[in-house]
């Protein structure tokens, strides 16, 4: 989150902090790094706010709902003079996920993303990422599938406690 320069900006960030991700409800959209910037121009009645968000994956079906939930929260707070802009560049990365978000994910039973590694290269048959089991904390795990229940997750299984689990794959 960039440095806060203005009371209104702080208020808007606080409102956005209450919007949860519809697929992973323990995370807020701030934890995910979806909100990139809140800009304010003008003062008093002419004050205009621009909220800039970016999608996680191109096809993430949660984005339409997130946009709607942002509008609902802002409407409840009586905020009207704003625009909600979606930008694609720079492309979202799991490196933008907050530390707090990673802890919440783990507590929820989803392994949080490792720091950006080599998974974004086209090399074949790469060594699997070492992912820690969110339940028993063992590192003896293996990947079942690079694609999971949502675009942002891969499917792993723990070789110690045998539980299958989701890994929020680094992207």
């Amino acid at each position: 989150m960039p440095a806060i320069t203005n009371d209104t900006v702080q208020k808007v960030w606080d409102m956005l902090a209450t919007v949860a991700d519809p697929e992973v409800p323990v995370l807020t959209i701030l934890d995910l790094g979806i909100v990139r910037e809140v800009k304010v121009s003008g003062t008093g009645e002419n004050e205009k706010i621009e909220i800039i968000i970016t999608p996680t994956y191109s096809g993430c079906p949660a984005m339409d709902m997130i946009r709607m939930n942002i509008r609902l929260v802002l409407a409840e707070e009586g905020l009207k003079n704003y625009t909600l802009t979606t930008v694609l560049s720079p492309a979202w990365t799991t490196d933008w996920m907050s530390e707090e978000g990673k802890q919440k994910l783990k507590a929820y039973g989803i392994a949080p993303p490792n720091p950006q590694q080599n998974v974004c290269t086209p090399e074949l048959f790469q060594q699997e990422e070492a992912v820690q089991c969110p339940r028993c904390e063992s590192w003896h795990t293996h990947r079942i599938s690079e694609f999971g229940s949502t675009a942002c997750k891969a499917l792993y299984q723990c070789d110690d406690c045998r539980e299958p689990f989701d890994y929020f794959k680094c992207h």
Partner: protein, 266 residues
């Protein structure tokens, strides 16, 4: 409005939409659950990419200028309604879709679906590498966003080509058939349409890079390209809206609801 640019954006969107639609037919029918999920994930990425292109094309097409209206009419659409991503996907007829012919080819067996994805993902990866640098910043942004997803598709499909080609006698034969079936639809990718020349899409080196990578993986998979692969007759026309018979059926299914109940909403 730069009509060549909009046509190019539609070409990119149509290609990803049609491949998404084809792949999505495997939903519930994949050989094992994990691979069923992998392919539907890939469909979802491609559909999202198509939406990004359509949203951008729609934005450009909503300029209130006579030349823009003429262009919309030339694509067989009404000019009295606001153009949206849905209108572009649902209200355009086959002749005005500019997707690559490769993407509309039938799913066939698992081998053919894998190979289609492999041939396209390899191409998409090298093309979008270049598009990330395109002077149109929104095209560049969509390409940069998409290529991260394409990298997954590329690895997944390449690994499957090797696994199946170098697998059993049966899977080897099916992969070889898939290569022979789909190869004639690959030439079109590297044949620039007029609108691509206009928007300065840089094709230099693209074919060689693609062919090198494809050749090396096909070899690893113990498969072979068709004999004299450079002399195989190549089908063309998708970029100009001249399609194989398959696209009509795909659109019939894809557009059915909006054709039967125009404007229907959730």
């Amino acid at each position: 409005m730069n009509t060549s640019l909009v046509k190019y954006i539609l070409h990119l969107g149509d290609t990803t939409l049609i491949l998404a639609q084809q792949n999505s037919k495997w939903c519930g029918h994949g050989p094992v659950l994990e691979q069923d999920i992998a392919l539907t994930n890939i469909s979802l990425d491609l559909l999202g990419q198509a939406r990004n292109f359509y949203q951008y094309a729609a934005e450009l097409m909503n300029e209130n200028e006579k030349s823009t209206k003429d262009f919309i009419q030339s694509l067989g659409m009404q000019t009295d309604e606001k153009i949206t991503e849905d209108i572009l996907a649902y209200h355009r007829k086959e002749r005005f879709f500019f997707n690559l012919l490769l993407t509309e080819q039938p799913n066939g067996d698992w081998g053919q679906t894998i190979l289609r994805q492999f041939l396209y993902s390899r191409f998409q990866y090298y093309l979008y590498e270049k598009l990330q640098e395109h002077p149109d910043t929104q095209i560049a942004a969509i390409a940069a966003k998409s290529i991260k997803e394409t990298t997954y598709h590329l690895r997944w499909s390449s690994e499957w080509v090797i696994r199946l080609g170098d697998g059993t006698a049966e899977s080897h034969e099916r992969m070889q058939n898939a290569i022979d079936n789909l190869w004639p639809y690959t030439g079109e990718m590297f044949l620039p349409a007029d609108f691509e020349a206009d928007v300065k899409i840089d094709f230099s080196g693209l074919k060689n890079k693609w062919l090198d990578a494809v050749t090396s993986i096909v070899k690893q998979a113990t498969l072979s390209l068709p004999e004299n692969e450079n002399k195989v007759y190549m089908h063309t026309g998708g970029k100009e809206g001249r399609h194989t018979e398959h696209l009509g059926y795909i659109l019939t299914e894809l557009q059915y609801m909006q054709m039967a109940f125009p404007g229907a909403n959730w």
